[in-house]
């Protein structure tokens, strides 16, 4: 695993003090073991000795460590934050790996081999050649109902998941529907209940039967879990209140897509707003390939 050294000096930066992708080889080995175990037991939270990273907890320390252990010098790396490539978190992490690993980076989902994400799954379907790394703030789906870690671990091991439905029950009794709109709990291969990280529930169906490897890293909570390719992932629900992956009932004001997840952007102080794709790469690609003149009529249609 020392091939990375040369790559870094090629960059002409003074990064010789760092190993390839920042972490030392022993740490990466430890993380890879956790990843392999997580892949072997889909949805199970594997404890690992999370390291201090040069960024605050909550900024993706877990995801960064998983990416660091996953990256090879030949990889092409993409980072998205809420679907966007150009937000602070994404820019920082992308630059971090440009400097410490010297890997190629891209904005295009299709070109990337490793994608680190915060709170979204890309709209472009993933392939078997890709790895999706999620940043996870709180890996335990039962945490807000059962504060004891000892108890939640026991509940996982004994498959006692009634409590998860109590949360959904509370939603319906208070709001008339399941109001949980992100971090929506899922059951993996009929066994472990898992927190899919705070992705919108619109993305939940994409978790299931996905050709790519999906890795989840929680740095502060020191847990790694994973979904191997083509894993069956079911969102929890009630028989009379089925799971509905919801999004804003609108088309994107830029690319006119009706199928992608939308951000609502406030444009002025007078109540002006627009809906745009949260996946910036998807939106840009659509606009680039669209026939000229398509944008404006759709915009008026969308606003009417």
């Amino acid at each position: 695993m020392s091939e990375g050294w040369n790559k870094m000096s090629d960059q002409g930066q003074e990064m010789d003090a760092y190993n390839f992708a920042y972490l030392d080889e022993q740490t990466k080995r430890m993380i890879r073991r956790a990843i392999l175990k997580a892949l072997a037991v889909p949805g199970y939270q594997v404890p690992f000795a999370s390291r201090e990273m040069p960024m605050p907890y909550g900024w993706g320390t877990g995801g960064v460590q998983v990416s660091a252990a996953t990256l090879t010098p030949e990889d092409t790396f993409k980072v998205i934050d809420q679907g966007a490539d150009d937000t602070t978190n994404a820019v920082s992490i992308r630059r971090f790996f440009e400097r410490t690993a010297g890997v190629a980076t891209t904005d295009e989902t299709a070109q990337a081999s490793v994608i680190q994400t915060r709170h979204r799954i890309p709209e472009t379907p993933l392939t078997e050649d890709q790895i999706l790394v999620y940043q996870v703030p709180i890996p335990e789906p039962l945490r807000f109902l059962e504060p004891s870690e000892v108890e939640t671990r026991k509940m996982h091991s004994l498959e006692e998941y009634g409590l998860m439905h109590v949360k959904l029950y509370e939603d319906i009794s208070r709001h008339g529907e399941i109001a949980t709109s992100y971090a929506y709990p899922v059951k993996v291969e009929g066994r472990y209940v898992m927190d899919p990280s705070p992705i919108p529930k619109f993305d939940n169906p994409k978790l299931s039967d996905c050709p790519a490897i999906q890795l989840f890293g929680a740095g502060r909570e020191q847990r790694i879990y994973a979904l191997p390719p083509y894993t069956r992932v079911v969102s929890l629900d009630f028989e009379d209140h089925p799971f509905i992956p919801s999004k804003a009932d609108h088309a994107c004001d830029l690319c006119a897509s009706r199928d992608s997840y939308l951000d609502e952007v406030i444009t002025d102080d007078a109540g002006g707003r627009m809906f745009v794709c949260s996946d910036t790469d998807y939106c840009r690609t659509r606009r680039a390939s669209a026939t000229p003149g398509l944008n404006s009529p759709d915009m008026t249609e969308a606003c009417s």
């Binding site: 109902l145 004994l158 006692e160 009634g162 409590l163 439905h165 109590v166 029950y169 509370e170 319906i172 009794s173 208070r174 009630f238 028989e239 009379d240 209140h241």
Partner: protein
């Protein structure tokens, strides 16, 4: 008739100190057993051992399971015992906050056991929760309130509803009326007596309040220093106490 619960020589010590020692008894279906004694006499330790919350050092607890007849619950695997704890057993704590989820609405509290045994129909859960709130005299419009907003007596009634919703056969109660004022106690006892008769429940009630056992219990065990010093029919023990400690206990009750 097969006893619902057979307890044989249960002992539990905390280091050199005795928690409870050599306790044996049988409980038949529909029967209510009272365990009385002063603080530190081992009542709660015994109850904990019976309900699978504490591991006794020695002894057997045979429960007449629906599927396989009498089985030693202490030798069951943990998933089996916890399943029993959600279905055929119920545990009413002295402090309602120990037995309730304070951050979850009353309906959710009652529904939790239903969801834990696989009920996945919201409307069905809701109906049953409302039905049970009615049975323990909590108005329908409080179903979405959290237990924090309830009075002590209501919390205790909610805890009972939450426990009985899956139709258990055996209820463990640890000082169910402790900390409630007398008029609320009276209503709660009335309610409990009604439910026990109506559902044909068996119950083991630990208390230091002799009035509670007089009203609820068919049989009585008196404990002192971890051992059972006297046992028998409730009226018999209370009206004609034989052991000196029981005599002291009975004569200590203030007459109004």
């Amino acid at each position: 008739m097969t006893p619902l619960l057979q307890v044989r020589d249960i002992s539990r010590s905390y280091g050199p100190r005795i928690g409870c020692a050599d306790v044996s008894f049988e409980l038949y279906p529909g029967e209510v057993m009272g365990i009385v004694g002063e603080s530190g006499s081992g009542k709660s330790t015994l109850l904990g051992c019976l309900a699978g919350q504490l591991a006794p050092d020695a002894g057997e607890v045979l429960f007449d399971t629906r599927a396989e007849g009498p089985r030693d619950t202490l030798k069951m695997s943990e998933p089996e015992r916890r399943m029993l704890g959600r279905t055929d057993w119920a545990f009413v704590h002295q402090h309602a906050r120990d037995g309730l989820r304070m951050g979850v609405s009353a309906g959710g509290n009652v529904g939790e056991r239903l969801m834990a045994v696989g009920e996945r129909h919201y409307g069905e859960i809701r109906t049953q929760a409302l039905d049970w709130l009615g049975r323990v005299e909590i108005p329908d419009d409080r179903v979405d309130d959290r237990p924090r907003a309830f009075s002590g007596g209501m919390q205790q009634r909610l805890q009972i509803a939450r426990n009985l919703v899956t139709g258990p056969r055996l209820v463990f109660m640890d000082e169910p009326t402790g900390g409630l004022d007398v008029s609320v106690q009276a209503r709660l006892l009335d309610l409990l007596r009604g439910l026990v008769r109506e559902m044909g429940l068996s119950a083991i009630i630990v208390t230091h309040d002799l009035a509670v056992v007089r009203l609820l219990a068919d049989r009585l065990m008196v404990m002192k220093d971890g051992r059972v010093v006297e046992g028998g029919l409730t009226d018999q023990v209370l009206d004609d106490p034989q052991h000196e400690y029981t005599q002291l206990l009975v004569s200590s009750v203030l007459q109004v």
